[in-house]
Symmetry: C2
Subunit: 209 residues, 2 copies
DNA sequence: AGGCTATTGTTAAAATAATAACAATGCAAA
DNA sequence: TTTGCATTGTTATTATTTTAACAATAGCCT
């Protein structure tokens, strides 16, 4: 496989989640247009993505759900579990930790960090919350490779530097403050306001037609 | 202006947020490469986006921060305020309501909905929480146009249908369950797991090099 | 059995997005 | 004043992503 487009990676992750639901319902095979329907994309795109990872379905029966799930896993998952930490266990951090709890994935949140003494030492659905002062030590001890940032905007830069210093390899930044990371660290940023403003733009545009 | 790419819309929204921070710091002009640095993109792309909206900077001085903010506002904002509601005021819903509080934007969260009697009737940073049973009535009374869904996955489809029925024009779905909306309703879905798996994929890939 | 049809896999084309290239120019410094 | 140069605006090029087109064929129906 020479190279998978970013977009394909993102879609494969989504296909897998849809497929897992199908599997749970006892469905053994699925057509490209069924996957497409769930994800609001076209069947062609689904087939193309699946082609890119080298999987082949059965004509008139579609794709074997189980096999496809496993193959996607081989592509996007790491062999070993990847440990993830969440820095800032407020509303958003808590929601994220909860959300991950119990999901079948190679990604596991194994630590939370906070500065608030009321939170340090507690657990959130089983995940221990540590003092952010110990961040480097814990990250290295637990071999945590990915950090999710959900601290207040003002702390973002500082926390990001601490994560990089501790040897983190990927950062997912949910704070409103964009950050810079050195080469070799993968950065993904998401800002809800951008999404909402996009929705609003199209709502407005449509109204003007 | 014939047509703005989706990606440009999203970036304009981000430029504005960066610009607002600059304005707050008393900066009156900004160069394309400064904006680019903040957003981790290239200066060319910034200039191109700005060109697309028909704004012109001053050579050697850059862009007038205030003017650019206003112009972006003209493009992406609605004339009038657009009201937004959040359905499901748990951890994530609460985080979102908080996040929006006090931001200068034409988008305002004016209602939350929940099914939990302990939450109904309360306020979250000033936003009243209503009984989800009254959703249609309140949405129409308040002329709410956009709905954010942060309910548990199992309720997603039902809530989505209720929002559409109430006349909502745009939906931002944060639950793990993809939904279908009729033509004329703009849908945006975001799933954190996709983002995290993407980060993990690149962390893994880089490791294998 | 034989034709029909839904579906896959893949190539080709189109659309969208990002980057490069560079002329124009106005400010700063010599 | 003149030169140098940083910066914009814009066109051209390249890369990426999506969509279309269609041949191949497994299974269904008659
Ligand atoms: N990107 C998005 O879509 C989005 C949506 C909502 C909120 N947010 C942002 O996410 C962040 C968190 O939001 P929230 O609602 O959970 O806020 P919150 O105040 O509930 O949580 C912040 C947490 O960070 C902790 N904290 C503060 N300083 C710290 C430090 N130096 N080290 C470690 N922990 C520290 C606090 O104790 C608190 O627990 C904010 O920046 C908010 O703007 C982003
Ligand atoms: N997409 C993401 O990035 C992301 C991240 C974290 C969580 N989530 C998802 O967001 C959702 C909310 O997460 P959370 O951590 O806030 O959960 P939560 O349990 O804290 O909140 C859910 C809220 O919805 C309310 N609710 C339940 N049924 C309802 C109904 N029929 N009508 C109205 N309200 C109802 C509950 O009372 C509760 O207040 C979940 O689906 C979760 O999986 C998504």
């Amino acid at each position: 496989m020479k190279h998978l487009p970013h977009k394909t990676i993102a879609r494969l992750s989504q296909y897998r989640r849809a497929l897992l639901l199908c599997l749970a319902k006892g469905k053994t095979h699925i057509f490209s247009h069924e996957i497409a329907k769930i994800q609001h994309i076209t069947a062609v795109q689904v087939r193309r993505d699946i082609m890119l990872i080298g999987y082949t379905g059965t004509l008139r029966k579609g794709y074997n759900v189980k096999e496809l799930i496993d193959l996607i896993g081989n592509i996007i998952d790491s062999e070993k579990r990847i440990d993830v930490c969440v820095v800032g266990t407020g509303n958003l951090g808590k929601a994220i930790i909860n959300y991950f709890k119990g999901r079948r994935t190679k990604l596991t949140i194994t630590a939370g960090f906070d500065i608030d003494p009321k939170k340090i030492g507690k657990k959130i659905t089983g995940v221990p919350i540590y003092n952010v002062a110990d961040i480097k030590k814990i990250i290295q001890e637990k071999n945590i490779r990915i950090g999710v940032m959900t601290v207040p905007g003002e702390q973002t830069t500082e926390i990001c530097d601490m994560l990089v210093d501790a040897g983190i390899k990927g950062i997912l930044n949910f704070t409103p403050k964009p950050v810079n990371v050195p080469h070799g660290v993968f950065l993904e940023e998401y800002d809800m306001i951008t999404s909402l403003e996009k929705v609003a733009f199209f709502v407005k545009t449509q109204n003007e037609l």
